[in-house]
Symmetry: D2
Subunit: 453 residues, 4 copies
């Protein structure tokens, strides 16, 4: 492909390092699409006759058909672009040599990769929405199940189980916005940039943009051929998704342990142990918990590659694809499994309710004292002393001897008497976004719309 330039071919060790076909072969559908658009542009630029255009388009279709049934790459094909060009020669002979007119692999691969990213974004976005739906569906079904809410890993205030599930669904809605923004910035056409300085053929880049469905055309050829910002941005968006999945996974590992016992995984989403016959392991949620690590590693790899690189194409950029594919593949494997595990999860309401203890009403008592005119800080201190008394007496907060509580503050006994049920406590925090029944159902509705429920 490099013509008569070199006296000898590449050494084997170099060839094996340099050869990207095993990785970039996945770009073949995008490479075909891009080449067909280029053929049309060459025709409009009068580089190709109508007959040549037609022959090239048909040739590319035949190559595409062959690739659909498996990749006939050999050791001598350096990358997917040269493989497709070789196959095109096999199909239509010397005319194939006209395809690369005015185009460089630099603008070609940038176009292919953007097309691939756009499709990957769509697939990931679909799976994120599906996971979001599964969470919302579970949340609707469990709105009346009451459990402890936690901060610092410690029981804090009573909440609804559905509310906790939705706390993991909202981040996914943000993820979809980020994917959309990323797609917007990805849908910018590099083709027509040549190797670095524009194409020697006056192609109509707007025509190509329209054929390939991009939103805009790139503004500077040197930037366009050396730019991988869109890969970095996609990897970041994926890392955020993976981080959210990781937080959900970790929470579910905790909730499924015997000490909590709040949820039970369906048999189809459990693993056993090779040694311990009794084990029900939440592997799916452990792998989910770990997922953001590899995605973050992929992001670091790309950003470190880009550090200090001159403008324009440098071979270092070849490293972009393996990390991108790794992150997308891993996420597309993880999201459906997590969704299935969430959809089939059984909540265990009696264990959740059993975990509620009276100390979680401390905020209610403090709020009650505030209602009687005390500054919050003072109320907080009073209830703190009640908590300590309860601990010393090894009694629940609301069963501290009346004399003792009255000694701390005269209004306490009466307030304790009005605390009511866990549901009452929850409903007392009725602000928008809170855990009240209405708020949870409002959130379900909002997220249903968000995830196309």
């Amino acid at each position: 492909m490099w013509g008569g330039r070199f006296a000898t071919g590449p050494e084997q060790a170099f060839d094996q390092l340099n050869r990207s076909l095993p990785v970039d072969v996945r770009l073949w559908p995008q490479d075909i699409r891009g080449s067909k658009a280029w053929v049309q542009a060459l025709k409009k630029a009068k580089i190709l006759s109508a007959a040549e255009e037609s022959a090239l388009l048909h040739g590319l279709d035949r190559v595409s058909a062959r690739l659909q049934t498996g990749t006939p790459g050999t050791e001598s094909d350096e990358d997917i672009h040269t493989l497709i060009e070789r196959m095109l020669y096999e199909e239509i002979g010397e005319l194939a040599g006209k395809l690369h007119t005015g185009r460089s692999r630099n603008d070609q691969v940038a176009t292919d990769l953007r097309l691939w990213c756009l499709e990957a974004i769509e697939r990931v976005d679909h799976e994120v929405a599906q996971l979001g739906k599964a969470l919302v569906t579970q949340a609707r079904a469990t709105v009346d199940i009451v459990m402890p809410g936690y901060t610092h890993g410690q029981r804090a205030q009573p909440v609804r189980f559905g509310f906790v599930l939705l706390a993991h669904a909202w981040p996914l809605a943000r993820d979809r916005q980020r994917l959309k923004d990323t797609a917007d910035r990805t849908a910018v056409l590099p083709l027509g940039s040549g190797a670095l300085a524009g194409s020697g053929v006056m192609v109509d880049r707007e025509q190509i943009r329209e054929i390939l469905g991009f939103r805009a055309i790139s503004g500077n050829a040197l930037d366009a051929t050396g730019d991988r910002d869109y890969v970095a941005e996609l990897l970041f968006a994926l890392t955020m998704i993976a981080t959210h999945v990781s937080r959900l996974g970790a929470e579910m590992v905790t909730f499924s342990g015997s000490e909590y016992g709040f949820v039970r995984l369906a048999d189809g989403y459990c693993s056993g142990s090779s040694l311990m016959p009794q084990k029900r392991n939440p592997d799916v949620f452990e792998l989910a918990r770990a997922r953001s690590a590899r995605t973050l590693g992929d992001l670091v790899a790309l950003l470190t590659t880009l550090k200090g690189l001159p403008a324009g194409y440098n071979k270092d950029l070849q490293e972009d694809k393996s990390v991108l594919f790794d992150a997308v593949d891993a996420l597309l494997l993880t999201l459906p499994a997590v969704r299935g595990a969430i959809a089939t999860l059984k909540a265990v309401p009696e264990r959740m309710r059993a975990a509620l203890d009276a100390s979680m009403l401390a905020t209610d008592l403090a709020d009650g004292l505030v209602g009687q005119g005390l500054p919050f800080r003072e109320a907080h201190g009073i209830v703190g002393r009640l908590v300590k008394a309860a601990e010393d007496q090894k009694k629940p907060l609301n069963e501290v001897a009346e004399a003792a509580s009255r000694a701390i503050h005269p209004d306490l006994p009466a307030l304790i008497a009005t605390l009511g049920t866990w549901e009452d406590s929850i409903e007392r925090r009725a602000t928008t976004g809170g855990s009240s029944r209405k708020s949870v159902l409002d959130q379900v509705r909002a997220l249903d719309a968000e995830f196309g429920g």
Copy 2:
């Protein structure tokens, strides 16, 4: 502050670890703003009388005035929130104890941090635009300076110096879009979420949103208090900016070296050597080249912190601020220095022109053969053989003996004769976004608008 809950105070080693005041003291203006909005909300919710509201607002103003003249924090103040509360007691006495009604440090700090991020985004965005302007101004002035364009660090095709500078300006335009998207997702109000489950006071969150200038209110209190996505997204946006600055810096280090000699830094942006009297070191661009490393490290730190964290507030989140402040500070130090160095840079046209060699016309020759009907691949091979002949003869491409070039292809001698000047070569690649004079000036206009030139 934790009332009567504990028998003893914190041990010193724990206190030193736990104390965040040295870091979060910078949030004081945001904390005051947030508290004033909260006071107004408590008034509307009838928790405070008009007189109390007024007293609290004035008290907060007096605290603010004191903080403007220096931070009177002592060893016993855990964080900025408790420091301000203590100062408020000093100003207005027991009434200060009403401020924290229905609010938690969890929704308070999330609000403060979002306000801080929004201001940081504005400052960074301004500096990015200023750097963009400096590049565009230099590009306009150097549009007629011709130099080699590079790929793989090797001379590739002739370009205009302004074109290369603009290749570093376009990424900054993308950065500003990303900052804007980040700001949109940051401007979501958490206040009113309480500790995790909503506030016990029925505040009007829309009122608070409007006072503080947020775009929307958060949808789920547990999510809102444990969410640091906006910090991650900002750190990513900063890392992308730093990556672009790193690429620009690396390019300028190369261009300013004696072997290239393409640019000369102003004396005010050079360093010397403690040992070698002749040195003119481009420290500013070396530090720019390194900048994305630390920003990336900050991003990694935050995302690793978030990995596997349960929903809601966990103390791990306290780590968010030191990495965020580090990244913003470093960038706000770097951008003005790089801008100044770019604005005062002198191009050295004669060195750039001297670096152009005839082999860079190879693409033109291949394009010329294509113009006579040859498939590009064949043309590429023919010119490749000419390149090899020139190397063997140790002559420039366009001075290969006519007999020799004719032997390779009969049309070569005539084509060589028509190659023209470097400018002719550049203008032959006239597609949008290319290095032609018109294209560069079009880009200057487009980016002028972008950067508010």
Copy 3:
């Protein structure tokens, strides 16, 4: 300092970026030590007379004494090296100008930084050993407390609490080995390398090595001045320590939660909540859990800085110090707090024992069947069916109706009858390194020796 080389001084924006004094001021004791050794070397090389040597040494001592009482750096001092040189001029006049003979800031700062790292390693190593001791002391005290051991966050087999604590102590022993290896590779003297190519003064580098207590002298001046491997290796060793602390912290957060209730933090290591009076938050362990994130970020920052840097000194290397100091400081703040929290932790044996459930004897039953000649896989399957029967009957494993267990395998009822106590089960796994009483006490002895207990 750069002599008469430049027409104008540095612009402010550049100066602020370039100035490293606020960070590198901490190197002053190392800089003084290195300079004193250099003075002695210059004397031996006959560059200085005995009187000059003596005057310079005394001058450096006086500068040192002044620095001990605070740093008199001004805006015009670029870094610690130039500050000390300026102060030396103030002390001894023009003779100060002889100090820098044959030395460059490149070999000077590399020497200072290695000395600093060696001291940091010692301090960190001491704290790691102290944490190790605290774990071993707790382990010895809790060897007879029985609890569930976990894999996948699920109850697996009964173990001793001391055994679990030791699982967090062994990694610290590895950390100390790594610190030692790092120290060995750090204790290599760069001084005498000049700016890049050796010193113009024939100093005796072995003499300097001996004075400064290094193990060896560097082999190549260009490598020595551009090498920051030792910083990377130290940051990695710190990240591993932080990772171990993070795993210990996460485990303790889990164990201290109400659902487990296995441990109770001393009041002096707990935080409360600003809103919820009942909270006892394990902040110390949450911050420990998060610690490896920032250390990893620091490591990433340094390694990304080094990527693609040419040999020899480049200004990018200035970034090494802020990340190194950050990681060391953070760890030296965390380790004592975690040690204190571990040392004062109270185990809650009754909660641990209550968490043991009969299903954890499943492995014992399978092992029992193997003892009667069954292949393990078959035994595993049999016990698996018993586990399922127990779950279906909602009974503990060892209380499944005899008829039912006999139906699964005739030997099961007899085996169930011999299961014995939890301690019996633990002692049945008696291999070296296991949870048996003897094994745990052997480990305590081994680690006592390791940590200098």
Copy 4:
């Protein structure tokens, strides 16, 4: 394999996520080795008869022979361990069920992975030594080639080309030490740890250690099964190697560009361009420059996975292998290619010499003034003014008009007259580790011994 525990098998989405065979199949030789050692241990522990031992060993050999010819894994095999167990059943029937007695996949996979790491370390170490040798061989051949040495990317002082090459060889010697330390810490046997708490069979772990060639046995079973420190340490060692290769690669990209023209790659290590017939691209060195990015990403992925993981085995650890394999594979692909490129590189002495300019003698002049008793700082200032005069006169430093140089300092003209050749200048910096001929040849000898040259 999980016996009768679950009512239904795994769902497809979960199975695809959970299944590690496609990745861990590479561990089969280690798994066979470990299993054979385990069989011998079970025999000694009297769990197996001599005949059973023999049958199992032969069975494992037959499985090994089959695996050597390709992996017959099916969709139903979860991982390499279960595949081998299934194949063993095919070979020897029910007796296969005795293999897993007293062993868990947790200690099994940890053993396999340590064996794999030890072999990988050996392979990588060999390649590092080979690259070291190639550099040393080139250095010996080019010791008399003189070129500019650089700091800050700027010409600093003259050096020998061999000296620069050795600056890239010394780091590799450090890398080999690190690999050795890593191997020491990796060669610790986990087998016999059971699932978490020791094995129910009293195997002799010292016997297993000896059979498998480990250095020591692990001290705590819970630590041993959840420990991946050795993977992290290996990934770090690989990242350091990759960083060194990255610095070498970047330097060679610079040196091979036309502006420097210091080296010329052999045709067999060059790539061309699909568009520009004249290009000779140093892809091998660009890919080398990028290499540390992915390795660092792999390290980040592992360390982030480990963050906050409880002691003992968690499924998250399954992620260790893909990143480990990726890093080792990438490095084993890169090192031979870089070695070949270095071995076949041609230095271009005339271009190197042409790049030397007289300003690089400035340090010599300053040293000369010091030799006449001036303090270095004063000398530095004097020569700085000479440099400026030379620049203003647009003359080389040593051709400034005598009157002008004398006006700066009366001794300058005489000193200039004695500057001598570039070689003289180099030899004046004669300290150990410098660029003098003797020093370079000493280094060659030392590194020859190091790399087994």
